[in-house]
Amino acid sequence: MTDLSLFIVAAMLIPAVGAGLIASSGSRPNVREAYTLVTAALLFGVVFLLVPSVLQGARPATEGFDLLPGLSIQFVIEPLGMIFAMIASTLWIVNSIYSIGYMRENKENKQTIFYTCFAIAIASTMGIAFAGNLFTLFLFYEALTLSTYPLVTHKGNDDAKAGGRMYLGILLSTSVLFLLPAVIATYFIAGTGDFTVGGIIPEGESPYLIAALSILFIYGIGKAAVMPVHRWLPAAMVAPTPVSALLHAVAVVKAGVFSVVKVIVYVFGLDLFSGDATSWVVYAAGFTVLVASIIALGQDNLKRRLAYSTVSQLSYVVLAAAMATPLAIIGAAMHITAHAFGKITLFFAAGSIYTAAHKTEISQLNGIGKRMPFTMAAFTIGALSMIGVPPTAGFLGKWYILSAAMELKDWFVLFVIFVSTLLNTGYFVPIIYRAFFKAENVPPAHEHGEAPWPVVLALSLTALGTLALFIFPEVPLALAKALVGQIL
């Protein structure tokens, strides 16, 4: 067991040390990017070496480091954290390949700071995934917010500054105003913050307290972007596309919904959370799913439309977790995985279009499918996954969530999923239609084909991943089942 706990530490140290090496290689781009790739590959290896034992039921843990009596920093790997770590470490490799193509082609400045902060953000993400108690989760949650701020404001212009202010303002203020009091209150009520199967909130607490606590947690975890605390996400789209792709479609927002699921499963416990006191969460999430989709429908800027689609998809996960049945939790976990691969593909495609054609608006995309077939094919696969059409990964998550809603006979949830699927179709299919079936009405300012090869390679890989997850869902599915297997 000790060697496994070493792996946990390694999973956080590798990107942290990588960040140091990257920072020290400032003026040599090739060395810097080699460090990035090697670090990402090492992390990937370490994370995947942990998978078999977690699947066999082991829960590797590190020794707790006591900050104060009763308040410690500790890491424990459970199935949900394993899933999250796998997603983040896999996509970091692909994203690094993509970044190299994107950042060089667009001649972005301050690239060393970019890669350094990226690695620190990944280290924080690993900390979140493996956190063994609420305090540790909170610590790395804040570290992720702070380490991504320089990435959001990367361009350094007024837009970036305003976006960064919104980003930091909302994420920090929700976490300080709501999440921290929730954490403190949990430690106070339960006497511990250790994530425990079945929850730690003692029985017999007043329903008002439970309701208040759930409000603090759901809105305190601003990264899950349940309305009205979603505004930071579109604001963060001022960042370079690799940042939007990995951080704002994968690591940061996934850290949000991951924390929500984790809190529901391990702090409240499914029994408590299926009670009346917390039933409001389903409605808040359902509302977000629908309203965000409607807003997405009206966006012409491609990245903004994707951002609102993310807001909507995140609330799917919250919605599923809030139903608090084993099937729904499996659905939530599968949807986290599926959305990660699908959405990163979509953002990669958006960045690819920007790089090759310098286009950012959907109305400019007529006929672009002929010039950039790989990009748009990948985009199509990502979009289908968002809608939930087989054979893409998105189908699986939706399937489990639907089954859970049927089992509960929850007509509200069924209604939300039905309408939102229509809306998803409504805002993705026209883009695909434009790209492939409409002729270019205005010839582009310059002749262009596909984006640089690393960009195309990266988006093809994630698109294939989206398909592969549908065909071979065994590992994440087994982990998702293990997550609830213990609760049953």
Binding site: L67, V176, L177, P181, I184
Partner: protein, 493 residues
């Protein structure tokens, strides 16, 4: 030698101050001050270690006269803890401040600066170590008078006015304190604090005792700069030389809070001052007002030294809030924050000193582009800001955790909410500085900036790293604070 330590750490700075006044050579005076301050630190740490090791207070009879007739010097855990803090900061500020003192103070006054600095340190250490109510007044005057001089040494002519303002307010405070002590003396016939505590027990409900208590508490509140008696503080901090501000902010108000605790818990006793009088309620309201009024005012300051000064008013509110919570957890938060705030605010004022030196002013608008030109200073500012906000992994978080837990123990959820809200205000006023420094381009015609001298940067960063280190390893601060709380509340609960 070792059992003479309590007298030595007071006598040596006093003598050294006189020597400095005679020599007046900058280098020699600086060296003397540094050696003396460091020796005081070693002495304080030794005494704290002894108290912790043997679990027994150190009592020293000055001149061999037994208390309560003679003056007693007493070192218990709490006193040891504050002694270590004061002497540590004094040493660090000496290392830090030499360059800025050379720049900010007229050449012929350097010798006086170190004289006054040593006197001030001696006074502050004396307030902490003495077990005698009148003797505390004497040390209070020593430290205050020298502090007024130090502030008046500031380059800005408004420093003189600020020092005068502080002098008037400080004198009123000291006078009220001594009136209170006088009243207690008339009914008990003793000045020794431990003796006072014993003799006051049957007399606590008498008007004289209550009046004495009121005078002492109000007098000390002036010295603490507890809202609304804080008016002297912003100007004093803003116009004093940078090194003086760092020293003043980290020590002077803290020592007065120490003395207030001594009176509340040791002399009058928890059972009386906290449980039977409205003092906790009053302090509670004033602390919350301090926190919000201080932070709000800080939001609108253009001078960043003043901004940090108003932030200090707010931070003092956190410390006194812990007293008002009236339980062990809250009081632990208070004591921990005394140390934590000294470390983080000390570091921030040191960085501002570097900015003042390089930029030439401490106006926010003149700091545009400082992030690029002075990265160590400005990243230090970011880190200090995190600690002020209370980001986990910094000392600020530890203090807030204890205060919040203390409030929850009383069932006061709203205090937790207010604490969090106030953290947001800190985020906004620190964020303003960071935005200007990192996102605004330096005007083309402005003088190019470079990093402050190494001695300043290194000392500030040692403190900043301490902010992080003590945020993870809390065994010193929380450990000593918890034991000290046991001493303060011992027998009372």
């Amino acid at each position: 030698m070792l059992d003479q330590l309590p007298a030595i750490i007071i006598a040596v700075p006093l003598i050294a101050a006189a020597v400095c006044a005679l020599i007046r050579n900058e280098t020699v005076c600086w060296l003397i001050a540094l050696v003396v301050a460091f020796a005081s630190f070693v002495g304080s740490a030794t005494m704290l270690g002894q108290v912790q090791k043997y679990g027994e207070d150190i009592s020293y009879k000055l001149g061999g006269w037994a208390p309560p007739v003679g003056i007693e010097y007493k070192v218990d855990l709490l006193a040891g803890y504050v002694l270590v803090l004061v002497s540590l900061i004094a040493t660090a500020v000496l290392i830090y401040g030499r360059q800025s003192v050379k720049l900010e103070i007229k050449k012929n006054l350097h010798g006086w600066y170190y004289t006054m600095y040593l006197l001030c340190m001696c006074g502050l250490l004396g307030i902490v170590i003495t077990g005698d109510a009148f003797n505390a007044f004497v040390f209070m005057e020593i430290s205050s008078l020298s502090m007024y001089t130090l502030i008046a040494l500031g380059k800005d002519r408004r420093a003189v006015a600020a020092a005068y303002q502080y002098l008037v307010m400080g004198t009123i405070g000291a006078t009220m304190y001594i009136i209170g002590v006088g009243l207690l003396f008339t009914i008990t016939g003793t000045l020794n604090m431990a003796d006072l505590a014993m003799r006051l027990v049957p007399l606590l409900d008498t008007p004289a005792a209550i009046a004495g208590m009121a005078f002492i508490i109000v007098g000390l509140s002036l010295k603490i700069a507890l809202f609304p008696l804080h008016l002297w503080l912003p100007n004093a901090y803003a116009f004093a030389p940078s090194a003086v501000t760092s020293f003043l902010a980290a020590t002077a108000t803290k020592v007065s809070i120490y003395l207030l605790m001594r009176y509340l818990y040791t002399v009058f006793g928890f059972g009386f001052s906290i449980e039977r009088t409205p003092i906790p309620e009053v302090i509670m309201v004033l602390s919350l007002l301090a926190i919000f009024a201080g932070s709000f005012t800080a939001l609108f300051q253009e001078n960043i030294k003043r901004m940090l000064a108003y932030s200090s008013v707010a931070q003092i509110g956190y410390i006194t809030l812990g007293i008002a919570l009236a339980n062990a957890t809250g009081l632990t938060g208070s004591l921990v924050h005394i140390f934590n705030h000294a470390v983080m605010k000390g570091a921030l004022f040191m960085l501002v000193g570097g900015i003042a030196m390089q930029v030439g002013t401490v106006r926010l608008s003149d700091m545009a582009g400082a992030g690029k030109a002075m990265p160590l200073t400005m990243f230090g500012f970011v880190l200090g800001g995190f600690s002020m906000i209370g980001v986990p992994g910094t000392v600020g978080f530890v203090s807030k955790w204890y205060l919040a837990m203390g409030a929850l123990e009383n069932g006061w959820w709203w205090i937790v909410a207010l604490l969090m809200l106030s953290s947001l205000l800190v985020l906004v006023y620190m964020g303003r500085v960071i935005e200007v420094a990192f996102f605004r381009e330096r005007p083309v015609d402005a003088i190019p900036l470079k990093e402050a001298p190494k001695s300043m940067i290194v000392t500030a960063w040692v403190f900043l790293l301490a902010c992080v280190y003590l945020g993870f390893d809390t065994s010193f601060t929380v450990g000593v604070a918890e034991q000290a709380v046991n001493v303060l509340l011992g027998g009372a609960q």
